[in-house]
C-alpha cells in the first residue's frame, strides 16, 4: 500500500464514520422531537381531563398512565393546574387517583430499590395534595437519597394536614434534611396550630419553628413569637424578631420596639429592619435613637427603616443630618441621598 492509497482509505473510512455518526445524531434528534410533541399533546389532554373534575375519568387517566413518561406528564399537568384550579377540583383529582389501579402500584413503588422509582412514585402520589398518601410518604423523609427526601418533604407540605405537619416537625427535630427545606413547607397557616403545640421542646427546634411561623404570615403566630423574643437563645430571638416583621399587625410592634433595647446587636438590627418593613410610624423616635447605636448594622438598618417609614422617617433623617454623632449623620445623609433619587425618578 502506498501513501496515496493509504490516505484515500483513511479519508474514505473517516467519511463513512462521520456519516454514520451524523445519521445517529439525526435519528436521535428526530426521536426527541417526536417524544416532545407526544408529551405536549398528552399534557394538554391530561389538563383538560383534570380540569373537568370527573373522578371516574380521572381514575381512568391515572390507570392508563403506565409508563414513566406518561406519569411524569401527568404529575407536571397537575402541577401546572395547582395555582389555577379550586381546592374542590383537587379533591376530585385525589379521589380519582385513589380509585385508580395506579395508586396501589405507586405505593408499592415507594419501597423500590431504585431511588428514582421511589422519588417518582412519591412525586405523583403527592401531587393532588390530598391527605391520602401522608402515612406512606412520611417515612421517606428519612430516605438515603436526597431527591426522595425532598420530594417527600414537598409532598407532605402539599398534603397540608396536621399529621403532615407533625411528620415535618419530627423531621426537623431529627435533622434529616436541611431545616430550611422543611421550614419552607411548614410555613403556612395550616401548620400554625401544630407548630405552636410543639414550641419549647428545644432551642434549635424553636429557632426553626419561629421561622416557619413567620413564613405563615398568620396573625395567630404573633403571640407565640412575642414570647420567643424572651428566649435565652440568640438564634431564637433573631428568628422571632424577623418573623414578627413578616407576620405584621400592630400587635407585633410593641414587642419589636422592646427588642430594640436587646443586649444583642443582631437582635436590635433585625428588630429595626422589621419595624421598617411593617411601616410602624410609632417607632420613628426609637429608630432615630438607634442611629447612634454602637453597632454599625443597627445604625444602617435603623436609617434604612426610617427611609421606608415615609414622611415622618424622612423628617427624622433630616434632623439626624445635624446629629452631633457624625456616624449617625453619615447614615442619615446616605439614606436621604437614596430617597432623593427615588423621589426624583418617581416624580
Amino acid at each position: 500500500m502506498d501513501v496515496v492509497e493509504g490516505l484515500s482509505v483513511l479519508v474514505g473510512s473517516s467519511l463513512v464514520l462521520w456519516l454514520a455518526l451524523l445519521g445517529l445524531a439525526v435519528l436521535r434528534k428526530l426521536r426527541r422531537d417526536r417524544r416532545e410533541s407526544r408529551s405536549v399533546a398528552r399534557r394538554a389532554h391530561y389538563a383538560a381531563v383534570l380540569a373537568g373534575g370527573d373522578a371516574g375519568v380521572i381514575a381512568d387517566v391515572f390507570s392508563a398512565a403506565g409508563d414513566t413518561e406518561a406519569r411524569t406528564d401527568l404529575a407536571v399537568s397537575i402541577d401546572l393546574l395547582h395555582d389555577v384550579l379550586p381546592a374542590a377540583k383537587f379533591e376530585a383529582i385525589g379521589r380519582g387517583m385513589e380509585a385508580s389501579s395506579a395508586t396501589r402500584k405507586l405505593i408499592a413503588d415507594l419501597g423500590a430499590r431504585r431511588a428514582i422509582t421511589r422519588a417518582r412514585a412519591a412525586f405523583l402520589l403527592s401531587r393532588p395534595g390530598t391527605a391520602g398518601g401522608v402515612e406512606e410518604i412520611a417515612p421517606l423523609l428519612a430516605d438515603p437519597d436526597p431527591d426522595v427526601r425532598l420530594v417527600a418533604c414537598s409532598g407532605l407540605g402539599r398534603a397540608a394536614t396536621p399529621r403532615a405537619a407533625e411528620a415535618l416537625i419530627d423531621g426537623l427535630a431529627a435533622g434529616i434534611l436541611p431545616p430550611e427545606r422543611i421550614i419552607e413547607r411548614l410555613g403556612a397557616p395550616w401548620a400554625v396550630e401544630t407548630i405552636v403545640s410543639r414550641l419549647n421542646e428545644s432551642p434549635a427546634l424553636d429557632a426553626s419553628l419561629a421561622r416557619a411561623l413567620g413564613l405563615s404570615r398568620d396573625p395567630r403566630a404573633a403571640v407565640p413569637l412575642t414570647a420567643l423574643l424572651e428566649s435565652d437563645s440568640i438564634e431564637v430571638e433573631i428568628s422571632a424578631a424577623r418573623s414578627l416583621g413578616r407576620v405584621g399587625g400592630q400587635t407585633c410592634v410593641p414587642a419589636l420596639l422592646a427588642a430594640l433595647s436587646s443586649e444583642v446587636w443582631a437582635v436590635r438590627a433585625q428588630a429595626a429592619k422589621s419595624l421598617g418593613g411593617l411601616g410602624a410610624v410609632v417607632a420613628v423616635d426609637a429608630l432615630e435613637r438607634c442611629l447612634s447605636d454602637q453597632a454599625w448594622w443597627v445604625r444602617a438598618n435603623a436609617a434604612r427603616a426610617l427611609r421606608e417609614l415615609g414622611e415622618p422617617g424622612i423628617e427624622a433623617l433630616q434632623r439626624a443630618v445635624e446629629h452631633e454623632d457624625r456616624y449617625a449623620a453619615d447614615r442619615a445623609r446616605e439614606q436621604l441621598a437614596l430617597h432623593a433619587v427615588i423621589a426624583e425618578v418617581a416624580a
Binding site: 500500500m1 502506498d2 501513501v3 493509504g6 483513511l10 473510512s13 473517516s14 464514520l17 462521520w18 455518526l21 451524523l22 445517529l24 445524531a25 436521535r28 434528534k29 426527541r32 407536571v76 422519588a119 417518582r120 412525586f123 436526597p146 431527591d147 425532598l150 420530594v151 414537598s154 436541611p178 430550611e180 427545606r181 421550614i183 419552607e184 410555613g187 421561622r211 413564613l215 440568640i234 438564634e235 433573631i238 424577623r242 446587636w265 443582631a266 438590627a269 433585625q270 429592619k273 454602637q294 453597632a295 454599625w296 448594622w297 444602617a300 438598618n301 457624625r326 456616624y327 453619615d330 447614615r331 445623609r333 446616605e334 441621598a337 437614596l338 430617597h339 433619587v341 427615588i342 425618578v345
Partner: protein
Amino acid sequence: MMGPFEDFLHGFNVFMLAYVLLLQGIYTVLAISGWRAIEDYVRRRPVRDYRSVSESEMSIPVSILVPAYNEEPSIVASLRSLLESQFIEFEIVVINDGSKDGTLAALKDAFRLVEVGRVPRSNLPTQRVRAVYASPLEPRIVVIDKLNGGKADALNAGINHANFPLFCAIDGDSMLDAGALSRLVWEFQAEPETVAVGGIVRVVNGSEFEGGRLTKVRTPGNLLANLQIIEYLRAFLGGRVGWSKSGMLMIISGAFGLFRRDVCVEVGGYDPTTVGEDAELVLRLHRHQREQRKPCRITFFPDPICWTECPEDLGTLVRQRDRWQRGLIEMMVRHRDMLFRRRFGRIGSLAMPYFLVFELLGPTIECLGYTLFVIAVALGVIPLQFALAFLAIALTYGLVLSFLVILMEERAFRRYPGWADLMRLAICAVIENIGYRQLLALVRMRAWYTYARGNQHWGEMTRKGFGPLLPGGTVDAAGHPVLDPTADPVLAGEAPVEALGAPEILDAPRI
C-alpha cells in the same frame, strides 16, 4: 538493522502509543461516567422542584460578584441581564477594578449610583477600596470602586463586601440563564456539605440578543467560535461531569461558579498572584477541607448555563489559552506537595497526577509525538499501514467522542435546536480533531516559555458585547447626590467590626 536514532524513534513511538491509549482510556471512563451522570440527571429533573428554590424565602441568598476592568461597552447590559435572574434574593456586587475607561461612569449613569458606607464582612487583603455605591433605582446592585489589583484582587474585595452566605463569581462579559442560580443553589440546599458548584459555560457568539438579553441561541458563522463550542462541550459534558461524579473536580470555571463564602474566607480567598485564580481556589478548598478533616463536596452541574463570548480571532484565542495554561502550571507548581499524597484522597492520588501528565506535560509530549511520528514514518521506522491504522483509530476516537457530547447535549439540554446548528457542529467535530487540537497543543506548549519568563499578564481580549443597551437612567452628573467619603468608625478602623463576628447561619440578618 536500526541505528540509535531509529531505536529512539521506535521507543518513543511505542511510548506515544501507550500514552495515547491510556489517555483515550481515561477519556472513555470520563465520558461514560459523564453520560451516566447526565442520564441520571435527566431522569431526576422532573421531580426536582427548582421553582420552589427560586421562590422560597428560605432559599440561601446569593451575592453575584462581577469584576469589571474596562468593561464599559458591555457592563450595563450584563447587569441588566443578571437582574433578570429568577431567584428570590440576590445582590450583584460589581467591582470596578481601577478601570481606565468609562466603566464606573456608565454604571453611575445607568443606575444613578449614590456613594454609601458599607461595612466589609471579612478582611481579605485587597487594593484600597475608594468608594462603595448603591443604586436607589435597583437596590440589588452594589458597586465597589477600587484601585487596580487584578481579577483575583477584585473578587476578594467583592467577597469582603458580599452580604450573603453564597457568592457566585462571573465574568463581566458573561450572562446567566434566568434559572441558573436556582439550579446551583439547589445543590447547596439539598446537600449542605457542598462547598462549591460549577456550572456549564457555553459560547454565546452567533446568538441573538434584544436589549442586552439573549433571545435565541444559535451557532455562529465564525469557524473558530464553532470549534470552541465543540471544545467547551467536550470539556464540560465529556470531562467535568465525569470528574465531578468521581469527586475529583479540580476546576470550576472563573466565568461561572457558586461558592460558600465562609469557607472561601477561611482559605484566604482568591490568590492574586496567579492568573489561574479560579482553579487555584478550588484546589485550595480541597486541600483545606481535607486538612481540616471536613466534608468537601465540590461538584459540577451541567444544566445551569453561563453564556460567554469566546474569541473569534486567532490572536485572542492564543492569548487566552496561553493564560489558561500558565494558570494551570502555577497551580500545579504551588500545590505540588499534594501530588501522590493519600492524605488528599483521590485529588492527590488520581486527579493531580492526571493533570500533571496529560494537561501540564501533555501538550509538549503531544507536539513531540506528532513531529517524531512523521519522521519515523518518513524513515520507515514505523510501517505505513501501522501509521495509517494509528491515525484512523485516533481520528475515529476523536470523532466518536465529539459526537457523543453532541448527543449528550441533544439528549439533556437541546440548546441548539436547529438543523443548521447540528450540521455546523457535526462538521466542526471533524475539524476540531484535525488541526484545531494540534494548534492548541502548540499554544499550550509555548505557555511554558511565557511562564518561565514570569509573564503575569492577562492579555487583551476583544469583545463585541451583548448588543445595544436597554434604556437606563439619564445622565445627570451635576445633579447626583454624592456624599463625602464616609469616615464610618468601622470603615475607618476606629471601632470593632461587630459584623465580622456575625454568625454565618444560613438565614443570617438580611441587611
